[in-house]
Amino acid sequence: MIYGLKRVIKYVLGTDIAGRNLAVFPDDTFIVSYPRSGNTWTRFLVANLVYPNQAVTFANIEQLIPDSEAMSSRYVKRIPRPRIIKSHQYFDPRYGKIIYIVRDPRDVALSYYDFARKYRQIENDYPLTSFASDFVAGRLSSSDWGTWGENVASWLYTRGSQPQFLLLRYEDMLRDTEAELGKISRLLGMEATPERLRTAIERSSAERMRRLEADQGDQWVSTKNKRSDIPFVRTASSGLWKEKLPASSALEIESAWGPLMRELGYSLTTNRGEYGTAVESPELVKEHR
């Protein structure tokens, strides 16, 4: 007779995680990505850009750019509008303005492996090759957000060509942060001077974020009670998969999403991706761009 009493109490109090049930307003902007694709760095960049007179830290990032996957529906509802919200959701037709960050899935797998160990989702000695297979097959705890390919393709196909959708590659953001942050500021309708962009970039540097994490790791919803010997802010680099990811795992990823990866400019180590099956119709993805 009693259906999930705990869940009901959470609902009444509004402490249920916002997630896919988030109440969306028309003036919301979303920072969307698959996990481990540079979303937290982008949140810091944007927060430092939009709130230049405030020290952005892990202790207050949730008030500035709340994480709809970690915070309660009441919490996110009370953020002053217009809100900028972090999300990992696959295509949601209600989202209006979107910054979508994409990253080479071979690097994502590697970063995710450390993250899963930090979160104690896998044992410390769980083989990386098995993890890569789980990543491709959608067997991770985050698979409710789809696989990498499903998440990316669902947004690119539907919104890829629209002016309210900004596609950023993590690799480009590393290479020329100022140019990419400039695109974000234009999407947000801001006239940001080069100085303002540069200040935001400095304040969001990997070193500074690492220091903040070391100081405040136990105050942030996403690192609290997780293993502190593995950092959340990792290498902040691209292409590490070339030395760290076993060739068989790279191949597995490429044969799952080869056409989509090539479409995004991630060169494949083999031609195996030609016969990728996960996205059968890259021409459909292209249609909207």
Partner: protein
């Protein structure tokens, strides 16, 4: 806070509609489509196939082939498994197995127009041109545009063994054969007699009669205009006479490749937008 208290008491009893919070079981099978694409007809076909002894009608369809937006959580959890669940969502990675019905968007827009009149969302005489603009922009229902809904499913699941693509037009042309594909996908051993019976019991005539008798007992039709029926023409291709050429062009310009990919021939874009076999027919003068 107060509305959450009322909602909370309903939740406590399991009387609320689970909507996006639906708890999905690994053996669930979903029947998905953009609205007005033959979903209700297919629900009847499936209900009559799976429950040959039940009196399938508008008043109990939500308990046979449930709808997370129309069936209570309690009913959803008390159903026999595997459940076959109706949905209009865009791509949902959590759905384990999916039958997806697609219909020519030029017909969908007409059907949706009349449905909006029936639901009093638009008035009689509302300009079709305005409605087509809203349809193309994805502004006529909360499930994305036609292209977004169809496209997210196809790009993610096309050719996947967990996915069965059904075309409304094929279902109208050969219901028996298409329901046979559904039976195989769902894992029901049905001989042609059982399939034929389900088809007969889900005929447009019979559904119209059921609608007239039970309209007030069904969430789909309860608060809508009774002078317009929910079960409409049950035909394909009526856009050719009901939709003016400029409006056809608006739809074809919105999703040309997706329509061609699905075999919906374009009529307003010359030969450029045509599938290969069609343009070769044109050039050979047939």
């Amino acid at each position: 806070m107060f509305s959450r208290l009322i909602g909370g008491s309903k939740m406590l009893l399991g009387l609320h509609k689970p909507r996006r919070s639906l708890k999905i079981w690994p053996d669930d099978i979903f029947l998905v489509s953009f609205p007005k694409s033959g979903n209700t007809w297919t629900r009847f076909l499936i209900a009559n196939l799976v429950f040959p002894d039940a009196p399938v009608g508008f008043k109990n369809i939500h308990k046979l082939v449930p709808d997370p937006y129309g069936t209570s959580k309690r009913d959803m959890e008390r159903m026999a498994r595997p459940r076959i669940i109706k949905s209009h969502e865009c791509f949902e990675p959590r759905y384990p197995r999916v039958m997806y019905i697609v219909r020519d968007p030029r017909d969908v827009v007409i059907s949706q127009y009349h449905y909006h009149r029936k639901c009093k969302k638009i008035e009689d005489g509302y300009p079709m041109e305005k409605f087509v603009d809203r349809f193309v922009a994805g502004d006529t229902c909360p499930h994305g545009s036609w292209g977004e809904n169809v496209g997210t499913w196809l790009t993610a699941r096309h050719n996947d063994p967990r996915f069965l693509l059904l075309k409304y037009e094929d279902m109208v042309a050969d219901t028996q054969r298409e329901l046979g594909r559904v039976a195989a996908f769902v894992g029901i051993k049905a001989d042609s007699e059982r399939i034929a019976k389900a088809v007969e019991r889900s005929s447009a005539d019979r559904m119209r009669k059921l609608e007239r008798a039970q309209a007030d007992e069904c969430g789909l039709t309860k608060d809508s205009r009774k002078d317009l029926s929910f079960v409409r023409a049950a035909k394909s291709g009526s856009w050719q006479k009901d939709l003016s050429e400029p409006l056809v062009a608006k739809i074809e310009d919105a999703w040309p490749q997706l329509m061609v990919f699905l075999g919906y021939k374009l009529v307003t874009r010359g030969t450029a937008g045509q599938p290969a076999e069609f343009s070769s027919l044109v050039s050979s003068g047939v």
